[in-house]
Symmetry: C2
């Protein structure tokens, strides 16, 4: 049965677990296969060319499991690699940018939104582009916040250092017209309460993970690929490296301990699958 | 002439440029070849196994240039991969840990030192081991400071956020007996002034980069490999990826703009040189 096939999710690390958590809530009957490219984290500081290659390699890893759809649970890869992924992958694929952008439009009465993200995500302009493609009159303010990922991973979710950093990033760009804010990095939902203290209660915070899970459910319905029976198998988690703090941080992101976690020899996979990956990367070959 | 061969230096990124800067000062006649593995930065959050592999791969890249010595200008790789590098490389190699540890002993009258570093460096216990191998009565206090690298890369060298973070890391571990402090990460020399404000003037700050350069000079003398004539060629800088902010940050680390900088296709190098690298990694083969 085509519908029993799993959904594949990848991220540069473990931030994407906040997206997986939302997918589980909205799609409890689906089996999920997660790949976190922890050996090469973070993507946010790297070039577009390299991120495109990494995204194709990550997707190639998931395709081994006969996945029916791929979710790019990484803002940087969603911002920089969606074109190449959509062109080259043999299954439907979604990133987190477009669902987040559409939600910002829905939730903003004053047509003004603030985007927080990594440097690479903000620099890409992908959220702005996605919003203005729908509504050219919409005003988008973007702020890159490179310190927030390390602050989350340090576990300083509401520490004075974090509050001061948030004020430093947000105070200069907040204004009375902004009534929606995109948490444009999968780490940021863990900072939602602290961010709300800085913005005040009138700004609607958008969790791209939730919006993406909603979008995936709709897509599977449309394509008649949703699975209605019991979940065909346990979720599985693969990573390209297991850092010491992984289990702690992962559990914090997922909201429960990580079961079925396995380190894969990704370097070896890349050497073995080099020809297939080069084919996926080559503009000459249409999938 | 053997002596005209260049010295190879590698780091996970650009932090090692603070080491190269010290090498230039102490060894103005030597040509330096730098490799920054910016595509896979940071090493500090990764496993020992992976860091050993990366270190061998980085060294293999430098060996192409017929280097006469290799400097591991990366605290994480120095902490976790020196054994494998010393066993497997066909040229002399030094890390930054041992020279820094010896300096801490020289500069401490009260036999107590504080080490600041990334999580991986501190967890490895490498500085403590290197110090206590020389003097088992020496007291070593270690503090991992994962937020300092992103703060330096953000350019917040003396920002209130940085000062508050430094106090949070250091206040609980500083005491009157500590009279030397190892800047156990190549990014930290840029924070030396701010760190001094927290420690007060009576703590001697140790820049492992300076100590390492001094050690390299002594080693080359002993091995009669020092070059006394005019520098045989310009220094060269290779990176596995060029992030957008690279030029800015690099110039800040080096103290001048980066000339002769080139991005190399490192993934391709790894695929092509796979057999040679596996040989270097294999315990069965002695070099």
């Amino acid at each position: 049965m085509k519908e029993t096939r799993p959904i594949g999710i990848f991220d540069s690390g473990i931030g994407g677990l906040t997206v997986l958590r939302q997918l589980r809530k909205l799609l409890p009957n689906e089996q999920l296969i997660y790949f976190g490219d922890t050996a090469r984290i973070p993507y946010g500081t790297k070039s577009k060319k390299l991120i495109e290659r990494y995204a194709i390699e990550d997707a190639a890893f998931l395709l081994q499991f006969d996945v029916k759809m791929i979710v790019v649970a990484c803002n940087t890869a969603s911002a920089l690699a969606m074109d190449v992924l959509k062109k080259r992958l043999p299954v439907p694929v979604t990133g987190v940018i477009r669902p987040g952008a559409l939600a910002a439009i829905r939730h903003s009465k004053k047509k003004q939104t603030l985007i927080m993200g990594t440097s690479a995500t903000v620099r890409s302009g992908a959220y702005t582009e996605a919003i203005q493609a729908q509504d050219p009159d919409f005003t988008v303010v973007a702020r890159d916040c490179p310190l927030l990922v390390p602050l989350v991973e340090e576990g300083w979710l509401d520490d004075p250092v974090t509050m001061m950093t948030l004020h430093k990033y947000l105070d200069p760009v907040l204004n009375a017209e902004i009534d929606s804010l995109i948490l444009g990095c999968t780490h940021y939902p863990l900072l939602a309460e602290s961010i709300r203290k800085v913005t005040g209660p009138d700004v609607h915070l958008i969790d791209s993970g939730y919006e993406t899970a909603y979008y995936v459910r709709e897509t599977l319905k449309q394509l008649k690929l949703e699975h209605k029976g019991t979940r065909p198998g346990e979720d599985r988690f693969y990573v390209s490296d297991i850092p010491q703090k992984f289990a702690d941080i992962g559990a914090r992101f997922l909201g429960e301990p990580l079961a079925h976690l396995k380190r894969v020899d990704f370097e070896n996979f890349l050497v073995e699958q080099n020809d297939r990956i080069e084919k996926l990367l080559s503009p000459k070959v249409e999938q």
